[in-house]
Symmetry: C2
């Protein structure tokens, strides 16, 4: 499903190069459930952005579902991303002028799904993320945790083959956080490949496979301890 080979990502700030990703090699099979943990600034979001085709490596290759993404043009990348990947951003990136329901509906609109089906699916996901009473609110009329749940609903409503989530419970209390993780794990049990970047040890340790990053490298890659 995913194969990163010798991936490097270097940012230039003035004269200083920042090695955000340093020779990353990673294979992920379809249906796996991974967590990625590590200190602030270790490269977790950068890695997720490359996996989500929101950024390109400076060198190395990224094969997604067997295709070398570096050989696709922008339009092909956009199509692959839209059809395959759901992304929950660390800072949400909701559309400010749309309501919660409209933000969540957006991927369905882009996929050409008819209004009856869209309405039903949005209503169902508003219910499962406990947002039904906030569907008409715009992002600036929502709490931090409510915005986070809108971002999660939007990313999951199309049941994408690959779900990339960056700190999906960072603004949630333990109980709402567990509800969200339950939703994500349910999708994984249906075959969706799930990657969770998190600072929360309790959440990270639920994953079948747990990666640790430090200074742009993967320094550990372990199976979950037996329950």
């Amino acid at each position: 499903m995913i194969r990163l080979t010798n991936v490097e990502r270097i940012f230039q700030v003035g004269e200083q190069p920042v090695h955000a990703l340093d020779h990353i090699n990673l294979t992920v099979n379809a249906g796996e459930y991974l967590s990625i943990m590590g200190p602030s600034g270790s490269g977790k979001s950068t890695l997720l952005n490359i996996l989500g085709m929101l950024d390109r490596p400076n060198s190395g290759h990224y094969r997604l579902l067997g295709r070398d993404t570096t050989e696709l043009n922008d339009a092909e990348q956009a199509a692959l991303r839209r059809n395959t990947i759901g992304f929950v951003f660390q800072s949400f990136h909701l559309v400010p002028r749309l309501t919660a329901a409209q933000n969540i509906e957006l991927p369905l609109v882009l996929a050409g799904i008819d209004i009856e089906e869209r309405t039903a699916r949005v209503a169902a996901i508003l219910k499962s993320t406990d947002l039904s009473t906030r569907s008409h609110h715009r992002p600036d009329q929502l709490s931090g945790g409510q915005r986070q749940r809108v971002a999660i609903a939007r990313a999951t409503i199309m049941h994408p083959a690959l779900l990339l989530t960056d700190e999906p419970t960072g603004n949630l209390d333990r109980s709402s956080g567990n509800e969200i993780i339950a939703i994500l794990e349910q999708l994984n049990s249906q075959g969706i490949t799930l990657i969770i970047v998190t600072h929360d040890q309790e959440i990270g340790q639920r994953a079948q496979r747990q990666l640790r990053m430090v200074d742009g490298r993967i320094v550990a890659d372990q199976a979950r301890s037996p329950r």
Copy 2:
């Protein structure tokens, strides 16, 4: 230092009123160290915004350092806020075009402090928040946790009498989070009144006094269990 009397905050969305704060009564003495916890959407950020004079109650009163804030005009409120309060926002609100160092320096510039002293103080706080190598980066060139630390540095650099922090460790790993809390507790030991809104039980339970909110009300107000 702080006295909230019968404070209500009602948002109107279409025809639906949202009772974000419901008859809040709260007294906080100078130098206290409080945590505020509670489910997503329970009113924590709204309460903090009122305390920070970023929002006004619909009814009730807020006395800060003996002055009724509802009787101050906008200019007086802005002056009181600038001189008294440091605020760490749940979504950071950094200035996009300024570097990390310039963002942190901003309160010192507004206070008319000379450039030599500003440079020294910014350098010291960059060191204590582990941001020295990122001082020239703009917010979009920083990781989520690095932005959070810039927001904390900016809020604390003036040693304000009242420090209001909304989820200050939400984007940080356990170890960076503990470093930040150590900085905040050190300021409190010097007399600064400290209020931390958090979803993290481990962090919330360090406070001398722990409030719990549900549906816009304070439902618990307890002293820390003996260590």
